[in-house]
Symmetry: C2
Subunit: 342 residues, 2 copies
């Protein structure tokens, strides 16, 4: 089985964005905010938005199941207050739940959280619980910078975040560390902010002893780990300067990287440098880079081609990257699959 751990609902019907625009336009006039009931997306429309896009490509490329969360750039936690984020997160998560209900063999949910700059992360717990208990979601996306490129929250190692971690440990769910749209003009969202956040999060973990406090906490650093694998020697050396244990012991029981790296040499480096047990197949398809690479004639985000082609992985390794590691890192996914007899 091939499990793509990094999929977002980037193809939701246009009514979703239209509703969000109305919500944003009325941020300062709560009385004018659209009601949740005003957003109507029919089952057929929802099915179509998946069948013609993600599911079509999964079939063409040969992936079976996607861990599916709301569109990352649309989370935009910096917009409005907690109430705005809360309503928006509930809508987006419910849509992903409906996708997983419509295609139970192909999609399973991961939650966005109703984060809001300066608001205690504890406020995210009810949405998290609903998604896990009612929707059967198997993971969350945690935004280390809800300010959208101003980085005003404490590092991930700060106790500020512990209420989320306690719930993650209780439910045995991992978090993908994933920022959203940048509202800082210095940072292009998908070309700088996403990759910077990956590197930043890794280094926040490296300098801390977070995983001593939470030995079973699991983070997925997306986009192939930002700059981390390319600079693996630098990070090994920095850990050494800081008198930390070797990275394998210090971080690799808890940190995993996906394969969202959009060319062969990048995947070759990732699979050479990072232990295979720490690599999860992901594509973030129909995301930041939707075009066809003129050098290969294939879509940039068809990452399975690179994983297939790399000389660094054996058949057993590929099983781990495609399925085994995902079942281990997402125990609730494994249980759900077993219940389906898979």
């Amino acid at each position: 089985m091939i499990i793509d751990v990094h999929g977002h609902y980037t193809t939701a019907p246009p009514a979703l964005e239209a509703w969000r625009k109305r919500q944003i336009a009325a941020i300062d006039q709560p009385a004018l905010q659209p009601s949740v009931a005003e957003l109507q997306i029919g089952d057929d429309e929802l099915r179509q938005s998946i069948e013609q896009n993600q599911l079509r490509l999964m079939r063409e490329r040969g992936a079976d199941l996607t861990i599916f969360s709301p569109r990352a750039s649309f989370m935009a936690h910096h917009i409005g207050d907690f109430q705005v984020s809360s309503t928006w997160a509930a809508i987006c998560n419910e849509l992903c739940h409906r996708v997983s209900q419509a295609f139970p063999e192909n999609f399973i949910g991961a939650a966005m959280l109703p984060q809001s700059p300066g608001v205690d992360p504890k406020s995210c717990i009810p949405e998290l619980e609903k998604c896990v208990k009612e929707y059967g979601f198997v993971g969350i996306n945690l935004n280390p910078d809800p300010s959208g490129g101003h980085w005003t929250s404490p590092p991930l190692s700060d106790r500020h975040w512990y209420p989320i971690y306690e719930k993650m440990v209780e439910y045995d769910i991992p978090a993908m560390i994933h920022v959203s749209t940048s509202c800082n003009a210095c940072f292009h969202t998908t070309g700088a902010h996403y990759l910077n956040a990956d590197t930043t999060a890794f280094m926040q973990c490296l300098t801390s002893d977070l995983f001593k406090d939470f030995p079973t906490l699991k983070f997925i650093i997306p986009h192939g780990g930002g700059a981390v694998p390319y600079h693996w020697g630098r990070f090994r050396g920095l850990a050494q300067e800081l008198k930390k244990p070797l990275l394998g012991e210090h971080l690799l029981n808890n940190i995993f990287f996906d394969t969202c790296v959009y060319h062969q040499p990048g995947i070759d480096l990732l699979t050479k440098v990072i232990p295979v047990d720490n690599i999860l197949f992901g594509s973030e398809m129909i995301g930041a880079v939707r075009g066809i690479d003129p050098e290969t004639g294939h879509h940039y985000d068809d990452t399975k081609r690179y994983v297939q082609a790399t000389a660094n992985l054996s058949a057993e390794d590929r099983y781990k990257v495609y399925e085994g590691n995902a079942r281990r890192v997402f125990p609730r996914l494994d249980k759900a699959l077993q219940q389906q007899g898979r």
Copy 2:
């Protein structure tokens, strides 16, 4: 000849840091600020600090000449106002000038600028002119984020920076885009902020048409380009989405990467992905990562070993990386070498 384009005076005698501490302590009491004359570093002491460190390692590792600038993390443009930065930059640049006078065959200067958050970059021109005209410096370090991790300046493509670019073009000097210490708790200085800035700067250039306005402007993106080469497919794809030309035409007449990547797989990727004409040898030795890699028994920052060992470069390619490209990107270096008969 082997030219290391990325060296900082990280080993200056302790009197320098002591003076800086006094300057910082008295920021709010200008009358108590130490005078420049109070900083005394003798010629012997200065020679020793180089001979026992950079020059010793250059000889051991086999590098001939280093383009030498003030310690990057000490620039700390976020501290104090323009006057504080201006005095500090003048001191640090003069020390690098003295090093280049003491060892004219081994060191040549690149300037730090007296940047200060919110201050017009035009204010840096007098120091830049002094360094080029009086000291014979061949390049500058330009900090895209003088706020130290808060990213409050406009992107490098903004006209805000044009006064610097006009001078760079006039004097035919390149800029290494190099941030300094992070005062944002989210960003570890050398493990996150440096690499993030590299990626950010590249993407600021990619989304803009800066090099249409300045066709001869040259930037060196240090630390192997941050996350850029590892995600080269992503950046090619993003340029495509943005209807920009192919990266070779759009950016690679103006942007160059150094080899400050501290393990073999990273250098292998860099030299596979980035055209050889865009790679300059650099080590940033005695910098962020000073230890010995237990996997190789050699210093992480002995980047010449990786450049020597990679299968991706021919002898002619190595000549370009070690010398030819540096002479082309730093025309004033080339002239200075020719005057020395080299």
